[in-house]
Symmetry: C2
Subunit: 609 residues, 2 copies
């Protein structure tokens, strides 16, 4: 692993609105603080793995995982109207197992526009995103183009090499975990802009952030900005859950500008196409929507195929019934037709579609509990058993698969939950929403769920879907997205530590060293959120010298435990490094305490020291 073209943060003005997020929180402070974007090189020049390199004032560097994409690299020009460079294109084309084709025509109703609308009429992809004309791509006849298929054949793709460098593990481990179905590498052949990442319990715990306009508010630009903002703070994937107007166009703009895999719930758009009437949904409308999204480049799709007709009555006695939107739509469809779910009866056909684009399944938990009272109940477990069955079918079709999980679960039932999922679903990656560990704190559900998320990730959940402070109450704004992502990065990292992930503790150690040595700037630069850490410090002690002073505002200048403690370390550490012998320790102490007295008992050294 070598370092390559590490570029300093620029002084230049921002280029466009999508880059604004990166600029505000990365480039501006970067002039003052010591970090910049770097890259790890692989076996070929186009395998360049982004990292965040923090330069400490003691001359050391700390290298951190980086999800922020080219937006934080001043050497790369970005323009939301043209999209990101298709970094994977060469790999995809090079495999020669896919081909371009004309693609499904884009229709006005894809954007929620009624047939009778004066704005109606056919449009093509170029019109939706004029910045980079392209044709969709899919597997050539007879070809399996999924990372699962490659891994099963023993191939190490550039994508696998990329994530191996990113995770600091051998590429063989990546291939093995994917081949075993214990990890997924979501990477649609039509989303060449994505920087490969992996989701599996052997790897760093990942975080998903949801965005999406709704019937009530928000615009395309806002959603693109939320995506870049979320990845700036560490989101590993983003789900676009838009349900209102411009759903196709919003998704196209998000995809063309996203350095992380994008997930969706195609059912939401399908429902829009039938005017929100669940009973009018058909397999044909749904299939067409899935193809539409596969061609756009969606990397993984939530499919609520585990909600069966016979499961619905199991929810009737629940405290909060069905809280999943997808689950309730399918339940309503099943009831209306008194038939088995079309997602279930057409599941193999769906597998063949996803296989042609390497779209990963996220098998949705439509019957997840929506309250503490409903946790781990029979409705949930019945669906989980169905998901276990579908997981095996998907794998038989070479389709990468993860399993979604709850929801609301009290702490003492969380382990049972993931243990059952791992057993029933052959260790397929678990992807959970929290879980929330209590229902009593609306407006703080990032915290009620952050607790559960940390625990379930420690016990093996591979990816955590964030929850924002607005959960249950309203739509998250920019601040809520950031709070949700930071909270979930904490949960994920706490789990990485508890799992003993190699290298995870280096980050904590570097920050604690900085704290102990009063290197305030290094503390800020290493913090998950340098901006807020710095501003909190400055509220109490705004003057610049305070950031290098050997005290802090909690104790004041003459009274600081870290300071005293450091002087103890300075006295004892040199002597005691090599010995655990009690007598030597005592002798050392006697000698040192005489030195202490001789120095005039000065515990608090002068600040200049």
């Amino acid at each position: 692993m070598t370092m390559q073209d590490d570029a300093r943060m620029p002084e230049s003005a921002p280029r466009d609105s999508a880059a604004r997020n990166a600029r505000e929180s990365a480039q501006e402070p970067a002039r003052k603080i010591g970090w910049h974007k770097g890259y790890l090189s692989g076996s070929r020049p186009d395998v360049r793995v982004p990292v965040r390199r923090v330069h400490l004032t003691n001359g050391r560097d700390v290298t951190l995982y980086d999800t922020s994409g080219p937006y934080t690299d001043p050497a790369v020009g970005t323009d939301v109207r043209r999209g990101l460079a298709p970094v994977r294109e060469g790999w995809i084309v090079g495999r020669a197992d896919t081909e371009e084709y004309a693609g499904r025509p884009v229709r006005p109703e894809d954007d929620g526009i009624k047939h009778t609308s004066p704005r109606g009429g056919l449009r093509n992809l170029d019109a939706v995103f004029p910045g980079r004309p392209r044709l969709p791509r899919r597997a050539r006849a007879g070809q399996a183009v999924t990372q699962l298929a490659y891994a099963r054949r023993g191939e190490i793709t550039p994508e696998m090499e990329f994530v191996a460098l990113r995770e600091n593990v051998p590429p063989q481990v990546v291939a093995e975990e994917i081949a075993a179905g214990r990890a997924v590498l979501p990477a649609n052949v039509n989303h060449p802009e994505t920087e490969p990442m992996i989701i599996g319990k052997r790897f760093l715990v990942k975080v998903n952030a949801n965005i999406g306009n709704s019937a009530v508010t928000s615009s395309i630009e806002e959603e693109v900005e939320k995506m870049t903002w979320a990845t700036r703070w560490g989101a590993d994937t983003v789900m676009d859950l838009s349900t209102g107007r411009n759903i196709h166009t919003t998704r196209e703009w998000v995809l063309r500008n996203s350095p992380v895999p994008i997930g969706t719930v195609p059912l939401y758009q399908a429902l829009e196409k039938v005017d929100g009437k669940a009973e009018e949904l058909t397999w044909e409308v749904y299939r067409d929507t899935v193809v539409e999204q596969c061609e756009q480049g969606v990397d993984y799709m939530t499919v609520h195929a585990g909600v069966l007709l016979r499961h619905v009555p199991l929810t009737a006695r629940r405290k909060t019934g069905i809280v999943s939107r997808g689950g309730s739509i399918m339940a309503a469809w099943c009831l209306a037709h008194h038939k088995e779910s079309f997602l279930y009866t057409h599941f193999e056909e769906l597998c063949e579609i996803l296989r042609a684009y390497d779209v990963t399944y996220s098998l949705g938990d439509g019957l997840r509990p929506g309250s503490i009272a409903d946790a781990n109940d029979e409705a949930q477990l019945a669906e989980l058993r169905t998901l276990g069955e579908l997981n095996r079918i998907a794998k038989a079709h070479d389709v990468q698969t993860m399993i979604e999980g709850p929801g609301h679960v009290p702490m003492h039932r969380i382990k049972e939950n993931i243990d059952l999922q791992q057993e029933i679903c052959d260790e397929a990656p678990f992807y959970t929403l929290g879980p929330l560990t209590t229902d009593i704190a609306p407006a703080y559900d990032h915290i009620t769920s952050g607790i559960g998320a940390a625990m379930i990730a420690w016990w093996g959940t591979a990816m955590l879907c964030y929850v924002t402070p607005k959960e249950h109450l309203g739509l998250p704004d920019r601040d809520d997205v950031k709070t949700g992502v930071i909270t979930y990065k904490i949960a994920a990292h706490a789990a990485d530590l508890a799992k003993g992930h190699p290298g995870a503790q280096e980050w904590d150690d570097a920050l604690s060293d900085a704290r102990f040595e009063f290197r305030w700037e290094d503390q800020f630069n290493l913090a998950l959120d340098p901006d807020t850490a710095r501003s909190f410090h400055d509220e109490t002690l705004p003057a610049e010298p305070a950031k290098t002073a050997h005290f802090c505002s909690m104790c004041g200048p003459k009274f600081c435990s870290m300071k005293i403690s450091r002087s103890i370390t300075e006295q004892f550490a040199p002597d005691l490094a090599a010995t655990a012998d009690d007598e030597e320790i005592e002798a050392g102490m006697l000698r040192k305490s005489k030195e202490f007295a001789a120095s005039g008992n000065r515990i608090y050294l002068p600040l200049a020291d």
Copy 2:
């Protein structure tokens, strides 16, 4: 248990500045929303246990634990200059085992005023708090006046009856847990204003909030206001960690106005009296400070008597040395004198002082880890073994005792930590600071530690010391105090649920019922923080009718899973309540789905419905 004089919230103007907190968040919204202060009655008229009674729009009441004191009761006049009514005075006097005495004279240096100061000269307690002249009280000769002593004799004190009502357990359980040393009821005979509460693993998990001016900022009034603010949001005890000027007077005002037990670290004030020079501390200065605080009414005191001379070198190789202020002061003293800690050598004498006032020990963990790297290390465990020894000595003197715990601990080492504490300290109540589960998120350490706090409380910690977002960075302001308390109430309640505390889930169930039934106002009123929940909701849908509308902003009017789900419940629940028989279910479904079709497949009922 009966209800007594439940009084509606008033329309009247506020009385004084301390009541302002209560007014802002309790009384003002109370006019709109449905909750008020109530009381549970005991066996005698002066046992009146405060509760928060939430009136739901469906006619039901939910009764919640209430720590906010008389400030939220419009029937009680409060005035910070006069202090709260001494509700326990009758019980204390009635026991006839204590007596008033002249007390230690208050000296200028008690408030950090130098002998040479022009403001110098003797003052008495009346001058410090003129509103309610009083003499201090202590045990008569030969009397043991601690709740532990009473419990051991099989007496159920009014304090025990009070907490039994508050916790909804039999009084015998309270007495047994106290007698066994598994719980403490901190209640200095000189703090008759306190509403009794209990700390022990058989009871609801408690939360402590720290306040305190420092050398750098803040005033007496601010600290009193922080105390009322913290208890308003649910703090069960408050520690006054002031270190600067006016330390005695601040504490007096806080005590006279506090409905919850107050804790301190007497060492901080003792150090002020020797001008911050740890080596000049003496047992005499310390003892005098402890007596001073006992007479004022401090309910529990952190004593770092477990930091022994031989432990200090064990910290030398640590990543972050000694991070406890008390621990580092004692370590410095031990080094300076090369003697054993005076807190350890005079521990039995200290027990006799605390016993005379019923002050509870909080045996401090001066060597707690300050980073993930230092968790559960030999320095910490060596101190813990000493605390186990001291716990037995304290109990032999009838002194109630709890044990403080870390700190920074990764998730996989938390259980080990509390299991060791419970074993070594004979199940004495554990009182932990978090623990923080990672070091990488300064500015979010309420969250890094809230995760660890929930887990360690599930596993038996009796009280959690909150951590605010400003931890490691600066002094918490009003918003930080609230955020810290709410975060820790979440952790405590999540643990109550996981422990299966009787009645804990009723709160969650009531809120989830309200959510499922679209009773927005009930959701807000039941929320841990009604104000923020309401304001988040109003950001997206501010109009008043939206609070009763059968949809919310996440899904929009025509698309809401709760809505669909509720209609499923309405269809199936009446039929399926009494049966788990598959055939009956199928038959019911067929019938119901025909009805569904006959109704025109209307899944989304009109909003007026």
